[in-house]
């Protein structure tokens, strides 16, 4: 959330949403992060709503209810991050001692480019200080989506999904890509726009995986905070 003043209407909607979020069971704190609340709504400008709960047991329930509430109040792309009490403490301890990147930090898209005289596409992802590059075939957005999964695996994620299909869509005057991932836990869809079809495909793949990547048990072992044995 920016410090700049926002319109009273938007402010009131955030106030109402926050109050309703705080009425959910065991919610201790609510915070907002992302684009300015009165900025134009775009697919890339995702507002993150952080909800802190006291009891990790209510994590899933609060996440689902918070998302429903947020969608009712805010007509913009958003996601919910629920952090139970202990998890924030551990993650911050890890960040403070500098021994490992925070598991809560996000995978980000560093770059997408064509290689091998246009026959291949190269996707670079970053997580903390780490970088990973994945390659796929060009000619269809699926290549960029496959390169994204490869890069994620190099970053340490065991990603149990394959690219099932990708479709280019016309959205207004710009292009968008829909990526369909097949996995053992079920299938996932992501849609995103980008400067090129390849960039859109990478973003759509990450979007499809976003909540899956945020789920603590699915984080790569190397990035999990260590806990004393016994």
């Amino acid at each position: 959330m920016p410090d700049d003043p926002v319109s009273p209407t938007i402010q009131a909607e955030f106030d109402r949403l926050e109050l309703e979020l705080r009425k959910l069971p065991d919610v201790i704190a609510v915070g907002f992060e992302g684009p300015a609340v009165d900025s134009p709504v775009t697919d890339d400008a995702i507002l993150t709503i952080h909800v802190m709960v006291g009891d990790p047991e209510v994590h899933a329930t609060v996440e689902a209810q918070a998302l429903d509430l947020a969608r009712l109040h805010l007509a913009r792309p958003l996601r919910i991050l629920v952090a139970p009490d202990g998890e924030i403490g551990e993650a911050e301890a890890a960040e403070r001692d500098g021994s490992q990147p925070s598991p809560l930090s996000r995978v980000r898209l560093v770059g997408v480019g064509l290689v091998e005289a246009g026959r291949g596409v190269e996707v670079t992802l970053g997580h903390g200080e780490r970088r990973a590059v994945g390659r796929g075939g060009s000619g269809s957005p699926s290549g960029a989506a496959e390169a994204t999964l490869t890069a994620l695996r190099q970053l340490g994620w065991s990603v149990p999904f394959d690219v099932g299909a990708s479709v280019r869509l016309a959205v207004g005057t710009t292009g968008a890509v829909l990526v369909y991932l097949r996995g053992e836990d079920g299938d996932r869809l992501g849609v995103s726009v980008g400067e090129t079809a390849e960039t859109a495909a990478v973003k759509a793949t990450l979007q499809a995986l976003n909540r899956w990547l945020d789920d603590p048990p699915r984080r790569p072992v190397a990035l999990r905070p260590t806990t004393p044995a016994g």
């Binding site: 109050l19 309703e20 705080r22 704190a29 915070g31 907002f32 009712l72 007509a75 952090a83 911050e92």
Partner: protein, 272 residues
């Protein structure tokens, strides 16, 4: 005059004393549009006027539980903030510390009152069981929606849904089970609506929704999806609704008439 606080020199020239800010905020409380907004306004003014790095408020009471607010609506992150939010006693914390304990206490108390007022206002307008709007606030919203519709031509659909065989279900499984069904319907409704849609519990087992647009199929589709979702949540398949819809401004020019039209269709549907 400069004051040294925790090793940092905080200049308060051209600043009003914090006590004066508290007094100004106390005067603002009565006309603050919302308690949550008031709290952030207080924290942000504190941060801006005194050049603070951060400000965190922790409220703890039987009616609110533990509630923490960070200036700028920022997420709880960082060792200093997490420590205050999770483990410190209730109170107002600033970085650097600039407030005398009694001033911090006054401001924290003021904010706690603001939050309590918000919760009271919320409880007065919402149904305690489902969290949806209650009948009175729905009637207000419907009247306002109708005025907008007549004046500006904004088209909307009123959907009334009545849970089939709810009494029978209550008698057979008991009131706690009936309450659980109503809660599931409330959760289901929230998950299906779009930003700007309005849902309310307007009677024991009767729900009303205001939807943007005038496609009557939308209302029936909503009821069908809601039946499935509530049934899935509860693990049984007995949740079903009778539905009545009416559209504005085509079918009525005032809220009471619109409700009548939707009600009549609801009872026709129940009779089938």
């Amino acid at each position: 005059m400069n004051r040294e606080v925790l090793g940092d020199v905080v200049s308060d020239t051209a600043q009003r004393p914090p006590e004066a800010l508290v007094a100004a905020l106390a005067a603002d409380l009565a006309r603050a549009p919302s308690g949550v907004g008031f709290i952030y306004d207080a924290l942000d003014r504190l941060r801006t006027e005194y050049g603070l790095n951060d400000a965190v408020l922790v409220i703890q009471s039987p009616s609110t539980g533990r509630q923490a607010f960070r200036a700028g609506r920022r997420p709880v992150r960082g060792g200093w903030v997490s420590e205050r939010v999770l483990r410190s006693p209730a109170g107002l914390y600033t970085d650097p510390v600039i407030l005398q304990p009694d001033t911090a206490e006054s401001l924290a108390h003021l904010c706690a009152v603001a939050l309590r007022l918000d919760l009271l206002a919320h409880d007065a307008t919402h149904d305690a069981l489902t969290g949806l709007l209650n009948r009175r606030s729905f009637d207000d919203l419907l009247t306002r929606a109708m005025s907008r519709s007549v004046r500006y031509g904004w088209a909307f659909t009123l959907v009334i849904m009545d849970l089939n065989r709810f009494k029978e279900l209550n008698d057979r499984l008991g009131h706690p089970a009936g309450d659980e069904v109503l809660r599931a319907v409330g959760r289901g409704l929230r998950s299906f609506l779009r930003a700007g849609d309005v849902a309310a519990r307007i009677g024991g087992d009767e729900f009303a929704v205001i939807l943007d647009g005038t496609d009557p199929e939308v209302g029936r589709g909503l009821a069908a999806r809601l039946s499935t979702a509530a049934g899935t949540m509860l693990g049984w398949a007995e949740v079903a609704f009778a539905v009545g819809t009416a559209t504005a401004p085509d079918e009525a020019s005032d809220a009471a008439r619109l409700l009548e039209v939707a009600d009549r269709r609801l009872y026709e549907a129940k009779g089938r």
